[in-house]
Structure formats: C-alpha cells, structure tokens
C-alpha cells in the first residue's frame, strides 16, 4: 500500500482534538507535498496543515469533525488508483465535505442491507479502523449506532471509553449494575484506582438533582450557535471551575512606578508596554517560586518546567491566550517583541500550537475598562491567573495623613490543589513588591546584561533587608533562606537542607543510573533522609526504597555502585557517618 495518512498533529500541550475548520484541498484532488490542505482549529488557535507527500487526497472527515490527535483525517494516495476513490470513499463519520469530488456509497450500503456487515469483517470507516487499531479495540466487539451498520469512530470511542478509567473489576461490575459512568467517579485511593465504594458513593451523590438552570431563552429564539473556539473555551472553563478549587487573593499595589515606567517605555519609542512590564514582573516572581509553577494531575503535581506567562488577548473569534515561554530568561525588550508578534498572530487567527497553552501564570488586564477587581477563573490546568484592575488615584493613609496615591488591585486566582494559602500569600506579596519596584526592570546604563553562566557556575545575590539569597545557575534559579528562628523568612530551604536534598537526590539518581547500566528494571525509587535537626551535621541516614520486578539480590547489587558514583556523597567529609539502607519491594514487570 502506498497510501499515506495525514495525522492530526499535537500542536499544543493541551491539545486533544483538532477540528477541520476548512478543507483547503478538495477531496480527490491532487496535492503537492508542502501544500496546505486543511485549516484545523484546536481549542486555542487555528493552524494550517500541509500535505506530507504528493498525491491524491481523500478526506476522511468533514468540516467541523473533531479528530483526536494522532489519528488520520485524510489519506494521500497515488495517481489513478486513488482517484477511483474506492479504497477510502466510505462514508465519513461526520457531515460529508461539501467539496467531495468522488463519494460513491460503500458496496454493502448500496446493496441496501441495513447491516451490511459480515460477521468476521465488520464494515468500518477508515478512521474507526485506525482508532480501533490505536486503542487496541477489536472491531468485532464494536456496535454500530448507524442504521447502515457502518462502524464509525464514535462507536469505537464509546467502547474504548468504557475501559479507560482505572477501576477494579468489582467497581466495574458495580458501576454497570448501578448504571454509573466510571468516567464520572472519583477514586479516593492515592493510587487512583476506582474501587466499588467509590462507585457506590458516586451513585449516592447522583441522586436526581434539579435540572441545570440555564437561563431559558424565549422559546421562539433558536439561540446563537457558539463558534468552536467558544465551545471549547466554555468546556475548558467549566472543567477548570468544577475541578480546581479556586482561591482568589486581592492585593493593592502602589502603581506609581508601574505608571511611570510604562510612560517611560512609551516615550522611549514603544519598546514595551504596561503588559510587558506585568509579564516581566510576573515571570521573575514565578521563577522564584518554582513550587507554584506546576500542574495538578490527579495524584501528583507535574512541574511545568519553564516559566511561561500567558496573556489574555481579545480577538474577533473570542478570547485567546498566547504564551511567552521562558519569560524569566528574556529582558523587557525581548518580551515586548515577543508579545507584539503573539498578539498579531492571535488577532489574525494564525497562532501556532507552540504559542498557546501550558502557562504557569496568565495575565488578564481589564484595567482599561475601569474594573477595580474581579474573581477570575483559572485556565484549565494552569495554577495562577492574575487579573489586573484599573490604575487609579485612591485616597491612602500615609504617616497619619490621607493623601492621594496611584493604585491598582491585583486579583490573583490560584489552584488551591497546587498552592496553599500561605504560599499563595507569599507569591502575592512578592508580585506586589516586584511591581512596586518595577522601575528596576527598565533598561538603564547601570544594569549591564548578566553574562551567561557556565555549567556549575552559580550567581548568588541577597537583598539588603533579608537573609534570603537568590541563586542562579545556567538554567535554573532558586531561593535559599533561613527559618524565622534564625532571622530569615523561610522563603526557601536553608543551605544545609539544600545540600542534604542534593545528597539524597544524587543517591537516588546514581542508583537509577546504576540500574540502567546493569539493565536492572526499576520502578519507583524513594529516599528518606534523616539527620540531626540543628547545629553541625553529625551524620545522616538514608533509607532507599526501590520497586523492581528483578530479584531482590540483583537490585541490592546496585547499592555499592550507586554509593561509589554519588558525586555529592563524594563531596562530603569522609569521616561524616552516612548510612544507606535499602528496602526492595517487588513490582510487576
């Protein structure tokens, strides 16, 4: 077979589906490699997809069809054979493309047999076949909902979805008997396994509730159909609102420097705006709070890695959120250039997949509309959203006198599953401080560009009023502080804890590398380090726990090489007693 599928690419971190917005090459026509053949909408943006090969294109989907990432939505065949259309001219799952040039009915369907399905070779759409193959679903088990018996992707999905949640067999049986959708059942166990009691609890909760009270439109009105972008946005907002417990902290900011800095920028020739200052300040703060830069994923927090700041941009099609990636590594000018580019792409509907999604913090600036504060809704899977209110003159009390101050209010929403209230407050305060001293960010003769750091080269700085130090390495930044008892503010781990953390981490990494070298299968590895809590370190005890399907004796053999190759261990005083115990737990292969 020389036919070649065009696969729905994953164009954004969060992209699960792409919808055909427009076919740019009609069904059955000849396309060249590199030619844009379809315009595809994801939840964030619209992309053009190019043919990866020259030949005759056959659509496998119609306009509006949502194609899961990784599935084919068109086939490119060769020459005349493909043009006869037979191989891929089965009815598509969605509405047929208007431009379809060749669309004969499938032979079985044409024969009029409603089933049209032989017992051993079910009639299925190519998309259904591809999906079934990818999901490992046996097509013989799939029931077609269409009258003509054709199995379409939705049928495969329906069957596969039944097997998707991690649930015990008993939980499945209970779910079936109580008619509960396992997809709607929350697992209480930390391993995420849905057990029967979870299903029963869900069934109890699902007592007939009052119908969702959508403000009923007058009966005569047909309603206004949402655009796809709006539908997806609505869905994602609902999920975020329903899943993420929001906390919103409002903090008043002295906006004097913010105002003067943005004026200065404007006067300097448009290299940066208020939004760029906000992005820069937020990025610097987020870089100092890596724990907050994470996504909640059921049983764990997934660090987002880079510092990415989203900026809500209004477009004709709706609100979209382009993202400035690695914003903490960019200077103000670079950020300004990046945002201009992103806003322009957003407004013309040409954002690429890499330009949306996955922000650790999104800024929504509605100050221009005179809104003082708000209760923002987080973007799905993002931990922080900063709503910037209007900047205005307010009466403030200073030195016992009521005076006029230039102020704004930040309404900062946090995903409470990622951030506790105290950590959120620390971040809120840090962002407030940063914005109140934002003039430092302005390019000036006094701040020479920091030279790039080499590996194992560190830069450490500490402000006048605190013990805390900011540490930077070539690719990372972190804060080291002391607890309040020692005079610090506990903004980060103290130096000894940091080194002990390095020791335990290095030991785990060395253990895993040893396993890799010796080809010993290794699952999870944990380390529990204990040491004297105060004063000079007198020793440390590390208990390693490893899960492996290999015989315990093989896993145990990794301990010596791990210890020998742990570079942090090597750095420590040789007479410092450090004991390492290993527990090996069996794990399935």
């Amino acid at each position: 077979m020389t036919d070649h599928p065009l696969i729905m690419p994953k164009l954004g971190q969060a992209m699960e589906y792409g919808a055909i917005a427009e076919w740019l090459a009609a069904d059955g026509t000849v396309v060249r490699a590199g030619q844009a053949v379809a315009s595809v909408e994801s939840d964030k943006a619209t992309f053009e997809i190019e043919a990866t090969k020259s030949g005759v294109i056959h659509h496998l989907a119609g306009v509006g069809d949502e194609i899961p990432v990784g599935e084919p939505f068109a086939m490119i065949g060769e020459g005349a054979e493909a043009q006869t259309g037979g191989a891929y001219a089965l009815p598509t799952d969605g509405p047929a493309a208007g431009a379809a040039a060749v669309q004969p009915a499938a032979p079985a369907a044409a024969a009029g047999a409603p089933a049209g399905v032989s017992a051993d070779r079910p009639l299925a759409s190519p998309r259904a076949k591809a999906l079934a193959h990818r999901l490992g679903v046996d097509l013989l088990r799939v029931a077609a909902h269409r009258a003509d018996g054709l199995i379409v992707a939705a049928d495969v999905k329906a069957l596969a979805a039944a097997g998707r949640p991690l649930a015990s067999p008993k939980a499945r049986a209970v779910a079936q008997s109580l008619n509960v959708d396992l997809g709607q059942v929350a697992a209480h166990r930390t391993d995420g396994l849905i057990v029967a009691s979870d299903v029963e609890a869900a069934a109890t909760r699902a007592r007939p509730a009052p119908q969702a009270t959508v403000a009923a439109a007058p009966a005569a009105e047909a309603g206004v159909a949402l655009t796809r972008l709006q539908r997806v946005a609505a869905d994602r907002l609902s999920r975020s609102w329903a899943q993420a417990p929001h906390i919103v902290q409002m903090v008043e900011v002295d906006a004097a420097q913010l105002a003067s800095a943005s004026t200065a920028l404007r006067e300097a020739g448009g290299r940066g705006t208020l939004n760029d200052l906000l992005i820069k300040a937020a990025a610097d703060c987020l870089a100092r709070f890596p724990a907050l830069n994470a996504r909640f994923a059921g049983d764990r927090l997934v660090p987002l890695g880079e510092v990415a700041i989203g900026l809500a941009v209004a477009t004709d099609a709706g609100l979209t959120v382009p993202v400035v990636r690695g914003a903490d590594q960019l200077n103000l000018g670079e950020i300004a250039a990046r945002t201009r580019e992103l806003i322009s792409a957003a407004r013309s509907g040409r954002l690429s997949g890499g330009q949306v999604g996955g922000a650790g913090l999104t800024i929504s600036n509605l100050g221009a509309y005179g809104i003082a504060f708000g209760t923002p809704v987080l973007n799905l899977d993002e931990p922080i959203l900063v709503f910037v209110g209007a900047m205005e003159e307010r009466p403030i009390v200073r030195d016992g006198q009521v005076v006029v101050g230039y102020r704004t209010t930040l309404s900062i929403a946090y995903d409470h599953r990622v951030v506790d209230g105290l950590a959120a407050a620390r971040f809120s305060r840090a962002l407030k401080t940063r914005l109140e001293t934002v003039a430092e960010l302005l390019p000036g003769p006094a701040t020479p560009p920091a030279p790039a750091l080499a590996d194992r080269e560190l830069r450490v700085s500490s402000q006048a009023d605190a013990l805390a130090v900011q540490v930077r390495s070539a690719r990372h930044a972190w804060t080291v502080d002391e607890p309040a008892a020692v005079g610090g503010r506990d903004a980060g781990p103290d130096p000894v804890t940091l080194v002990l953390g390095g020791l335990a981490s290095c030991m785990v990494i060395a253990f895993k590398l040893a396993a890799r070298r010796r080809k010993v299968p290794l699952g999870e590895v944990r380390a529990h380090l204990t040491a004297n809590p105060e004063g000079k370190l007198t020793g440390a005890a590390i208990r390693l726990e490893a899960w492996s399907s290999a015989p315990e004796v093989d896993v145990r053999k990794l301990l010596a090489p791990a210890k020998a190759t742990c570079l942090v261990h090597d750095m420590l005083r040789p007479d410092l007693p450090i004991t390492i115990d290993l527990d090996v737990h069996p794990a399935a292969d």
Binding site: S168, P169, A171, A173, H188, L193, A196, E552
Partner: protein, 323 residues
C-alpha cells in the same frame, strides 16, 4: 476437650494409627530409639517394636523410594524426613515415584504412604529452613497437608495415614510447642476443607501455620482500626479448597496470601491466578502476596527475620489494601 501441644497431637496420631492398623510402619533417621530429632515419634518404638518403628540410614532417596515400594506391597509406611527441604534431595522419589508410580502403571497400584516433613526456619541455613509446600502443590499425584493447630495436626495425620494416596505432610517446627484444644470425639477433618479462622468483611487473608498465627495477630491490630479481615486456613494445599476463598473474596473483594515459602510461583501465585480466572468480577483491590523474597534463607536470625513476613507487614499491607 483437652489442651495438648501440636507435637503431642502428632505423636498421638501416630500412636493411634499404629494401634489401629498392623500395616502401619514408621521409619526415618533417628525416629526409633531416639524418638526423632523433634521427638514426634517418642515412645513409639518401645510400644510397637523395632520391626514397626525403626531407624534408617541417612539415605533420603531410599527412605522415600522404599516408602513407595512398601506401599505398593500393602503396607502403610509413615516416613519422616528430618527437614522438609530434603523433599528436594529425594526429588525423584517424591515427585516421580510417589506422585506418578500409580499413574504410569495405569492404576495398577495404590501408594498409601505418608511423608512427614518438618518445615520452617531453624537458623540452620538455606537447606534446613524452607516451607517447600508449593513444590508439592505444583506436582501431580500428591496430597499436601499443612495443619496449623494441634487438632488439625492430629486429625489430618490420621486421615493421611488412612488415605490410599501419597500424602506430603508438612509440620511446622515453630508450632510444635503451640497448645490447642482437641476434641477426641470429633470426626476426622476431610482433605480439601479450609477453615475460616476469623470472620471479617474487608480483606480476605489466606495463611497457614506460622503465617496464620501472624495473620491472626495482625487482625487484632487491624480490628482496632476498624478493618475486619477474614482469615482462611486452607489446611490442605492439595486438594485445595478454593471455594471457601472464592466465597470470602466475593464478600471482601480483596485477597492477601501470606506464606512462608518463596514468593515466585508460590502458593500465593496459584491463588492469585485462580482469582484472576474465577473471581475477576469480584476483585475490588489488587491481589497481594507476602512471602519470602526470592533469596535463600540465611542462618542468622536478623537476616531471617528480614525476609519472613511479619505481623507489621501484614498490618501495613492490609491497611493499604483496605484504603
């Protein structure tokens, strides 16, 4: 009702069997004059004579093989191997001769012999410490008893001696001095009938012999936390009463097997596989096993205790399962 030790119960079973049936003979290393290294056959030679209770050379192959030969000629030999581990020393005789002599000769013979196998760790190292009952359960043609109480020990041993099939009878050394009530009028316990040692609704534990004791202890701690475990003692591993386990797992949805044998392909592996085959719709928690990790058993107590499942491990595992 009387209260006697497990060792005394075994001795009584042998005594009464010798008394009841002239064809019963007992032999093995040190079982005659000395009464056995664990004193289970004490007094029997004096009472029944050296032609029925006698010592043997240290020759495990012929000890077991002669049992098969004597059995096919109509005797009911009860043979003692000093350590259950020596089952492997006499592997040909145990698995091929005792287990298959009847089969490969088309049913021409009965093989009514009993091999007594004192099991469990002794601190004597890897060849004297195992609970190798899984080997027997794995192999066709053999019955396998694992009594856990004095009453079961006596009843099952008498039953084993009366059986027309070869029986591998595992006695756990750590239980020898354990006392328990015994009802002299109770009928013999049939093979293949498990005992429910404790009723509960949250997790089913299958355990026998020393692990049964530990499971029962763990159950008390767990009960204080509101976790009610059901504990099943299989009593015989071949035949195996899976129905009792199935009934229990239908109720609890969770099963833990605690065994003193090696983990890989052990008794627990078999129980787990059967639950997969026959109880899948009822399983509500991952099936779990506690067993000896796949290393030989050491001779130093600290090392031995590191690998034999403990009460704490049972408690922690059940807690995790019941979560």
């Amino acid at each position: 009702m009387r209260t006697i030790t497990y060792a005394k119960a075994l001795n009584e079973a042998l005594d009464e069997s010798l008394q009841a049936d002239e064809d019963v003979i007992i032999y093995g290393c040190d079982v005659g004059r000395w009464g056995g290294i664990f004193k289970i056959t004490g007094g029997l030679q004096t009472k029944y004579g050296a032609d029925r209770v006698f010592d043997s050379p240290i020759s495990e192959n012929v000890l077991v093989g002669a049992g098969v030969g004597a059995a096919v000629m109509g005797l009911r030999p009860v043979v003692e191997l000093q350590f259950a581990d020596f089952l492997i020393t006499a592997g040909d005789e145990v698995f091929f001769k005792a287990g298959m002599w009847r089969f490969m000769h088309g049913g021409a013979f009965k093989v009514p012999m009993v091999l007594r196998l004192p099991s469990g760790e002794t601190g004597a190292g890897p060849e004297h410490s195992a609970c190798p009952e899984a080997y027997v359960m794995h192999s066709p043609g053999l019955l396998c008893c694992v009594p856990s109480t004095p009453a079961d020990a006596k009843s099952l041993l008498k039953q084993a001696i009366q059986s027309d099939n070869p029986v591998m009878f595992f006695e756990h050394r750590r239980l020898y001095q354990q006392r328990g009530e015994i009802d002299d009028d109770a009928p013999l316990i049939p093979f293949g009938k498990a005992a429910i040692r404790r009723e509960g609704r949250h997790v089913t534990i299958v355990a026998w012999q020393m692990m049964l004791n530990r499971a029962l202890k763990a159950a008390e701690t767990l009960a204080e936390e509101g976790i009610e475990v059901e504990i099943i003692d299989p009593r015989t591993l071949a035949p195996f009463d899976f129905d009792t386990i199935l009934t229990s797992v239908k109720k609890t949805g969770a099963c833990l097997v605690v065994e003193e044998g090696y983990r890989r392909l052990g008794v627990g592996a078999e129980i787990g596989a059967r639950l997969f085959e026959e109880a899948l719709p009822y399983l509500d928690r991952p099936f779990r096993r506690l067993a000896i990790p796949d290393v030989p058993i050491s001779s130093i107590p600290a090392l031995v205790n590191r690998i034999i499942p403990t009460v704490d491990q049972i408690v922690a595992t059940v807690r995790e399962m019941a979560a």
